[in-house]
């Protein structure tokens, strides 16, 4: 071992570790501490109250409403987004048959690629404001403008407790699909053409190409997508803040609330200990989810 290796390595690591400790480790530990206190965020020192914030949290109906919504989001958001994105990516990359031994997408795929990706470049707040107009419950909204012209009654998607969460989730899916189409396209382009060629020679249809070749070879990428979308389901906040009833506070009547929404409002009411407790719960939920997903979806990776 060469002399001076450790100072050299330590020199490299010092700055990143310092940054990580300052901006991630310390705030995280501090949040754990604050969650055990009653603190309003002023210069008065936090008062230790043990697990009282957690007790209050678990007694709160809105907390359980939020958990239910996270479970719905956790299932629906990744499932729908990945399914649709995979389908589009398949059509864009390999769905058009082969030309001179190279797989191509359907006609106009270059144009669609841009169209699908467009929502992704819009800031989430802009998307939210845009959909305020789309969903507006009178005939000046896009959806209801069309419906009333066709002679139907206007629908109040964001006002109805049964549709509000789905209406907001639709916006998230609409926005996310573009990114995952690109992600899956990248994955598909690294699948060797010979495999498709061999499968086609054996008489495989497009459907079996998709399910027997593309899907298994893309498994790693899909797994990454699942984890990302799962985390997005836990961090779901911005769209609710812009679109939901009750001035963004997860309305109507908590029908669209999430933990991040509850956290934000607790913090804005100077209940910082309580808000931190929600943050800690969210932290463990996300951690558990990520660990579970990586374990459950573990498969043998095919290398080529």
């Amino acid at each position: 071992m060469r002399h001076g290796k450790y100072p050299f390595v330590a020199g490299f690591l010092f700055l990143p570790v310092l940054l990580y400790v300052t901006f991630v480790i310390y705030p995280t530990l501090r949040t754990f501490y604050i969650s055990m206190t009653a603190w309003r965020g002023f210069s008065v020192a936090p008062k230790w109250i043990g697990f009282d914030n957690y007790k209050q949290l678990f007694d709160d109906d809105r907390f359980w409403q939020a958990i239910t919504h996270h479970l719905e989001l956790l299932v629906a958001l990744p499932l729908i987004t990945i399914a649709v994105a995979l389908f589009f990516a398949f059509l864009l990359n390999v769905g058009g048959g082969s030309k001179g031994g190279v797989r191509t997408g359907v006609w106009g795929s270059k144009f669609y690629r841009v169209v699908f990706f467009l929502p992704q470049v819009l800031a989430i707040a802009i998307v939210g404001v845009m959909f305020q107009t789309v969903y507006r419950p009178d005939n000046t909204g896009l959806v209801n403008g069309v419906l009333t012209k066709l002679g139907f009654d206007p629908v109040a998607l964001l006002v109805n407790k049964n549709t509000a969460l789905w209406a907001i989730m639709f916006v998230a899916i609409w926005q996310a699909i573009g990114f995952y189409v690109v992600l899956f396209s990248a994955g598909m382009s690294s699948i060797p053409a010979e495999i498709y060629e061999a499968a086609e020679l054996d008489g495989a249809t497009r459907a079996s190409l998709f399910f027997r070749v593309t899907l298994p070879l893309l498994w790693d990428t899909i797994q990454v997508a699942w984890v990302y979308l799962g985390i997005a389901a836990f961090d779901f906040f911005a769209l609710i803040n812009v679109l939901a009833q009750d001035g963004g506070y997860g309305g109507p009547d908590g029908a669209t609330t999430t933990l991040a929404t509850e956290l934000y409002y607790a913090a804005s009411k100077s209940k910082l200990g309580y808000a931190s407790a929600i943050g800690v719960v969210l932290f463990f939920l996300t951690l558990t989810f990520a660990a579970l997903t990586l374990r459950v979806t573990k498969r043998e990776t095919i290398e080529y």
Partner: protein, 475 residues
């Protein structure tokens, strides 16, 4: 070649690192911040004199934070601040304006060097109850007992409208100056009403009869914005409840008395308003609209009556047709057996300002506040703000040509005489306000009745009363 589960490929490691980073940062870290201990202190004062009642150093620096919302910031930069400078030429005013008061001011409290003078307002304002509970605000008793700028023989408290000191008091101690005098009621267009020969209704039967006539014209009779302004409507219900049962009905609600919400008068008023939906007097789409969208519909003569405070006229200035002419009518009485007169209105001092207790120059903050309560500064506020809002300073806007809407609200306030009601629970207990808003949408769009509405809010009020961690206030 494939790797066994126990081996980590480079990709897996990177992926896990990315996941760990992605979840750790947004979920938790943004809440944490450090708090210093209370630095406190008055930052040096000089001897107190009648012209310098708080002993402010002549060359003090006063940091003024203004909420740049409905009233803008021009009234401060062109009115209050030059007037303060005229009185104290050696002092320095450090002006800041923002729409996000919490983000700007809360870290300063944590750091122990809060700004002297803060206009704590807007949706991102700090919770006054929390500020008071943690003893962050300067006690304004000293200010109210100080000699006023205009007449040194008169105390400041005697130059403002009755109720101003109480409005900003917490358990009897004044901490907040509410500067703007606000009158609440139901607004209509004078043109629309005159063209159709309609008159503002006096009682509930008259209100329903008018709604029927308006509906026949193809105009939505009444409405408020459910998406973000449901409190405009609980305000109407509670004002009517006060007319039925007297001002104590609201006092009991503020004081979290048992059964205050399920009181007969409150249920009676809620039941009455809850019937509008089934009669088709309210547009169901309003539940999903924001206040600006509903107010615009009124300007377009699609909606006849809209409940709000008298900032409405200024807020809508850009979209109001020239001949629209806003007029305020008091919330309709119930019937002849009401305890208060039909002219009764809810009026409150609004737009809160405070002085930080541990600011470098607390005396400077108090002096700035004393100066803004002079007739000259108060009049400047009324003249410069777009709403031309009258302040709590008595006589400051005498002879000022108010626009039609504010003129009508001032007339309504005068007509109400001693039957002026007020309520504070929404500022004291924000959770109760949230519950009342949600319940009010349920009521007004026809999903629950008045009794269920009252019981639901009562349940929340009881829970707050029992919760020892919430600081309670009485009036």
């Amino acid at each position: 070649m494939s790797n066994s589960p126990s081996e980590l490929s480079r990709r897996t490691v990177l992926r896990r690192a990315a996941v760990a980073g992605a979840l750790a940062v947004p979920a938790v870290s943004f809440l944490a911040a450090c708090s210093d201990d209370d630095k406190g202190g008055d930052g040096g004062t000089v001897a107190k004199t009648p012209t310098n009642p708080f002993g402010m150093k002549e060359d003090a620096t006063v940091e003024v934070v203004i909420f740049d919302g409905g009233y803008g910031q021009k009234y401060a930069t062109d009115g209050l601040e030059p007037n303060f400078k005229a009185a104290w030429p050696k002092a320095t005013v450090k002006h800041t304006a923002t729409q996000d008061i919490t983000a700007l001011v809360q870290p300063r409290f944590q750091g122990g060097n809060p700004p002297e003078f803060v206009n704590n307002s807007g949706t991102k304002s700090m919770d006054f109850g929390a500020l008071v509970a943690d003893d962050q605000l300067a006690d304004l008793t000293e200010l109210w007992d100080a000699p006023s700028v205009d007449d040194p023989n008169k105390k400041v408290r005697d130059t403002v409208f009755a109720g101003t000191v109480e409005a900003g008091s917490f358990n009897g101690k004044p901490f907040v100056l509410y500067y703007v005098s606000t009158v609440f009621g139901i607004w209509h267009s004078d043109k629309l009403f005159k063209d159709n020969g309609w008159e503002a209704p006096k009682d509930w039967a008259g209100f329903l009869a008018l709604c029927e006539k308006i509906k026949a014209k193809g105009i939505t009779p009444y409405g408020y914005a459910g998406a973000n302004a449901a409190y405009y409507q609980w305000n109407v219900i509670l004002t009517q409840a006060a007319k039925i049962g007297g001002g104590d009905v609201l006092k009991n609600i503020d004081n979290l008395e048992d059964g205050a919400w399920t009181n007969e008068a409150v249920v009676k008023a809620a039941t009455a308003w809850g019937t509008l939906a089934s009669k088709g007097y309210i547009n169901p789409a309003f539940e999903g609209l924001k206040h600006t969208e509903v107010q615009l519909q009124q300007n377009q003569y699609k909606l006849a009556m809209y409940p709000s405070g008298d900032w409405l006229e200024g807020e809508q200035a850009a979209t109001t047709p020239k001949d629209f002419v806003y007029q305020l009518a008091p919330v309709p009485a119930y019937d002849g057996s009401d305890k208060l007169s039909p002219a009764a209105v809810r009026s409150a001092a609004g737009e809160g300002y405070f002085v930080s207790k541990s600011a470098a120059s607390k005396a400077g903050g108090l002096e700035f506040m004393r100066q803004m309560l002079s007739k000259k500064s108060a009049r400047a506020f009324t003249e410069i703000t777009e709403a031309h809002a009258p302040t709590v300073v008595a006589g400051a806007s005498d002879g000022f040509a108010f626009p039609a809407g504010v003129k009508s609200s001032q007339a309504a306030l005068a007509a109400a005489g001693k039957d002026v009601v007020t309520l504070f629970f929404d500022g004291w207990y924000q959770d109760l306000d949230k519950e009342a808003r949600a319940a009010t949408n349920e009521l007004m769009f026809g999903r629950i009745d008045g009794k269920a509405w009252a019981e639901r809010i009562q349940k929340k009020a009881d829970a707050i009363k029992k919760d020892a961690s919430i600081t309670k206030f009485k009036r």
